[in-house]
């Protein structure tokens, strides 16, 4: 049932990459528990604009859990207290009346803050550019049904491919490792005959790029899997390691 709650928000404000940043505290009254977390942020911003203050900058776009743009660290958890959701899918019914909510950006060496709660995740694109594709150009490809693919493989590839590139895995990892993200892409493609051809090389190049960009090493803490809003499995990391080893052996 719908209810109204009052909240205290502790929000990270940082006016650009070079600013030191600080927490600001805001009060919000009468927030409907049926509203989403980002709608609550809209209400806060409307209030700030009406007071002549600068609204809080945060990333978002689809607001249905698929674009991977939203990225808040809420009460110490990426994407907040609910499981298997992105921040935009989080609803205020998960919070209590009178609660204090702390809202921070992703914090990781690989993702520098741009403003307030917005970080720069271009590193993910750079990692994909290093090999996260099949090397085929438009046209001249075989018929889609030319190669049958076992349903289990296709389904498993689909699960790995559900990664939305949000970066929660990196944000939650004490080492700031991007292994879950990289392994999801390596697995997605390695599981399909079309991607298998370049699997080992792809793994090697993507891992090298990840290291180069300052992401940390994976020590198998498993935190990433817990916070991944799309349930991307840590078993993908094992597959990545296998492909990586193959590439090393071939060298």
């Amino acid at each position: 049932m719908e209810n109204n709650i009052s909240l205290t928000l502790k929000v990270w404000r940082q006016n650009g990459p070079k600013d030191k940043g600080r927490f600001e505290t805001y009060k919000l009254d009468k927030v409907s528990t049926d509203s989403s977390f980002l709608e609550m942020m809209d209400i806060l911003n409307e209030q700030l604009v009406n007071e002549g203050k600068e609204p809080v900058a945060f990333d978002h776009d689809c607001r249905e859990g698929i674009c991977g743009m939203c990225s808040l660290y809420i009460n110490g958890r990426p994407h907040g207290p609910d499981d298997d959701v992105t921040t935009c899918q989080l609803h205020m019914r998960k919070f209590k009346d009178g609660e204090t909510i702390t809202i921070e950006p992703w914090r990781s060496a690989g993702f520098p803050v741009i403003k307030d709660l917005i970080v720069n995740r271009n590193a993910f694109d750079t990692i994909i550019a290093a090999g996260g594709y099949t090397s085929v150009s438009t046209g001249g490809v075989p018929d889609a049904n030319a190669i049958p693919i076992p349903k289990v493989d296709a389904d498993e590839a689909m699960d790995a491919a559900s990664c939305i590139g949000c970066g929660a895995c990196v944000a939650t990892c004490k080492n700031g490792s991007a292994m879950l993200f990289v392994s999801a892409k390596v697995s997605h493609l390695a599981l399909l005959p079309q991607g298998k051809v370049e699997a080992a090389r792809r793994a090697k190049n993507m891992v090298a790029k990840m290291d180069e960009l300052g992401f940390g090493n994976c020590t198998n803490t498993g935190a990433c899997e817990v916070e991944c809003p799309k349930g991307v499995s840590i078993s993908n990391i094992a597959r990545l390691n296998r492909e990586f080893l193959k590439a090393k052996l071939a060298d």
Binding site: S35, G65, C67, Q89, K115, T134, G139
Partner: protein, 645 residues
């Protein structure tokens, strides 16, 4: 205004082959000398930019999001059509073409649609080669499902995330070109104007959304793949950043804007529940394969449900009105979107709506779960059901979903000829941004098909026909007068916005516009309402330009400033939509004029008067636009009243 559609000679099925056989090409050495600007990284933009890069052109590709993969296309759920006929159920290129023209209520250009159907199969091949994990059967071959407006199963899908997987495929192809150095990618960068040199589009003015700085970019040709303008309604199924600004910039530079009033209202969205609502969530049309739509047969039951005294599961089978199955026995729950949306509105207006507001109908999976088991339904729609539950806090396996129509897609857009070139030479438009293939109504799973067709298989040919004459045009530096002037004009506009310093937030004005659009330019329109809308929009425009408040400055990131500049263009769009809807005195597809309906409430086209695309020409900031016609002739398709009974 030159509206030459440049339809190639020959019989319909041979036009595209004839075109390709006779068009001009650019040789590899010359491709290196040519620059193409692609605005947008959705399905249309990413596929075009990647393909141009592979061919050897120099490409500059822009997106307002932080990564190409975030484009609105990512949100498409249900699937993509193709005429593969893998299920052997009678599909063919001809049938896909025919269904699309008919589904569009005979307001699309036949030759373009035929080409779309022809290349549809290549898209599926391409995507599989990229590693798109389409759903498969146990034998390892691709699975298909059916969508509204078709009696065959021709829709390919990847769980409920087809758009995501197709976009990731195109994105990866794009990143491969970024790595190869053929594509320069500009993220968080918004195109704020188009630069004209000697009557041709030769570049763009961009604004870096992080620093607030303006940039000048030259291109021998410019492609707009910037998506649709449904967010003029404030509440829609589109992503928050979806906007029609680039299209409006093109329009202001002389590109005709065609059929702006053709907007699609999607029948299956989660109903509005509060004032704070920021967007509406679509529940994929694929759900209509297995879900049955109903409202209570008795008004008392509907009233009791609205008052919270009765649950839908308590209503006996004989007291449910499966109104789509009742009215349209042949297509049932799979009638096209416009028909399904109006039928829902009709029931709710008549007092049979459910939910607390009475503006909702049920989408029920009970029969399907009984027939196929919960696991089968979970496998098909699991993520959609989860999405629903997270938003509404109801379990759709146990109780029917509630749905209501919402603005979803815009068929109208920048006018393009057969080559996807606008009325401005050198300016092309692709994907949802153009008006080309869907007439007055788009069939489900056809937007993804069109976006990728345009980007992978149409523009890579047609743009060469244009660029072949440009091989000796030298690159410009961006210091030419035209570029400098365009930049200062754009800057002045942003400074003007910042200087208003009024009392109202951007969103509060946008919501006001949205309400006017929904009330008067929404699902049912009439003369009086549309005239009122035009008046109201003029007032909102005035209010905006005198009373909007944008905190902060033009330096660094300023989200309110971005939103304000897009809202200024949505106001222009809203006005165009209302004018177009007022002039089109007929009902067709997504455009329903109350004055033109049959006794049973079905849409009545006026083919003798309105079988044309209405192309609006800009006349200046405060002048009414002028309408020109591209007459539509139908060589192959037999124009008839659509009948889904």
């Amino acid at each position: 205004m030159n509206l030459d559609s440049k339809i190639p000679q020959g019989p319909m099925a041979e036009k595209w082959s004839n075109y390709k056989a006779n068009q001009k090409l650019v040789n590899p050495a010359n491709k290196r000398k040519l620059d193409i600007i692609v605005v947008g990284t959705g399905l249309a933009g990413a596929s075009a930019a990647a393909s141009f890069g592979e061919m050897g052109f120099n490409v500059k590709n822009f997106t307002i999001q932080d990564s190409p993969r975030r484009a609105h296309s990512i949100a498409a759920q249900g699937g993509i059509n193709a005429a593969k006929n893998y299920p052997n159920d009678g599909d063919s290129v001809h049938r896909l073409f025919y269904d699309t023209v008919k589904g569009g209520d005979y307001r699309a250009r036949e030759a373009n649609v035929h080409r779309l159907a022809e290349v549809s199969n290549d898209i599926i091949d391409q995507c599989v080669a990229q590693g798109v994990p389409f759903a498969r059967e146990y034998g390892g071959l691709l699975d298909n499902r059916s969508f509204g407006g078709a009696q065959v199963s021709r829709t390919f899908y990847a769980k409920g995330q087809t758009g995501q997987q197709l976009l990731i495929g195109a994105y990866q192809a794009l990143m491969r070109q970024v790595n190869a150095g053929t594509v320069d990618l500009y993220t968080r960068t918004e195109i704020v104007d188009i630069v004209m040199v000697d009557g041709k589009a030769r570049g763009v003015i961009a604004r870096d959304l992080v620093t607030g700085e303006f940039q000048r970019h030259f291109g021998h040709a410019v492609v707009l793949a910037t998506g649709g303008y449904g967010n003029a309604f404030f509440l829609s199924t589109n992503a928050m950043g979806s906007n029609g600004s680039a299209a409006i910039k093109a329009y202001e530079k002389g590109a005709a804007f065609a059929n702006p009033c053709f907007a699609q209202i999607h029948p299956t969205c989660i109903p509005v529940h509060g004032e704070f609502q920021s967007k509406l969530t679509l529940m994929s049309e694929s759900l209509r394969n297995d879900g049955r739509i109903w409202v209570p047969k008795k008004k008392e039951d509907a009233e009791a449900i609205r008052a919270g005294k009765l649950k839908p599961t308590q209503i006996a089978e004989e007291n449910r009105d499966y109104y789509l199955e009742r009215r349209y026995p042949a297509f049932g729950n799979l009638v096209p979107r416009d028909v399904a949306s109006r039928a829902a509105k009709e029931r709710c207006d008549a007092g049979f709506g459910v939910g607390t507001t009475g503006l909702a109908v049920y989408l029920d999976f009970k029969s399907a779960i009984e027939r196929l088991g919960e696991d089968a339904i979970r496998a098909r729609y699991g993520n959609l059901f989860q999405m629903y539950e997270k938003i509404v806090d109801d379990n759709p396996y146990e109780t029917p979903m509630m749905i209501y129509p919402a603005i979803h897609y815009t068929m109208g857009g920048i006018w393009v000829d057969y080559e996807l070139q606008t009325t401005v030479p050198g300016l092309f438009a692709a994907g949802e941004a153009n008006f080309s293939d869907h007439g007055a109504n788009r069939l489900g799973a056809s937007a993804l098909m069109q976006g990728l067709a345009d980007g992978y298989f149409v523009l890579p040919y047609t743009i060469q026909n244009y660029l072949a004459d440009d091989i000796s045009t030298p690159r410009m530096t961006g210091d030419e007068k035209e570029f400098v002037d365009a930049e200062s004009e754009a800057k002045a506009k942003f400074e003007k916005l910042l200087a208003i310093k009024g009392n109202r937030s951007v969103d509060s004005i946008h919501k006001e516009l949205g309400l006017v659009m929904w009330d008067f330019v929404g699902m049912a329109r009439n003369k009086e309402g549309l005239e009122k809308a035009i008046e109201r929009i003029a007032e909102i425009k005035k209010e905006f330009w005198s009373n909007v408040r944008i905190p902060g400055s033009g330096e660094g990131m300023n989200v309110e400033l971005e939103k304000a500049s897009r809202l200024a263009d949505f106001i222009t769009t809203g006005d165009l939509m209302a004018r177009d809807a007022l002039h089109r005195e007929e009902s067709c597809g997504g455009h329903f004029r109350e004055e033109f309906q049959t006794e049973e409430g079905e849409a009545m086209r006026q083919d003798d008067q309105f079988a044309y695309a209405a192309c609006w020409e800009y006349q200046g900031a405060d002048k009414a636009p002028v309408m020109h016609k591209e007459d539509l002739t139908f060589e192959v398709v037999k124009v008839a009243q659509r009948n889904y009974k």
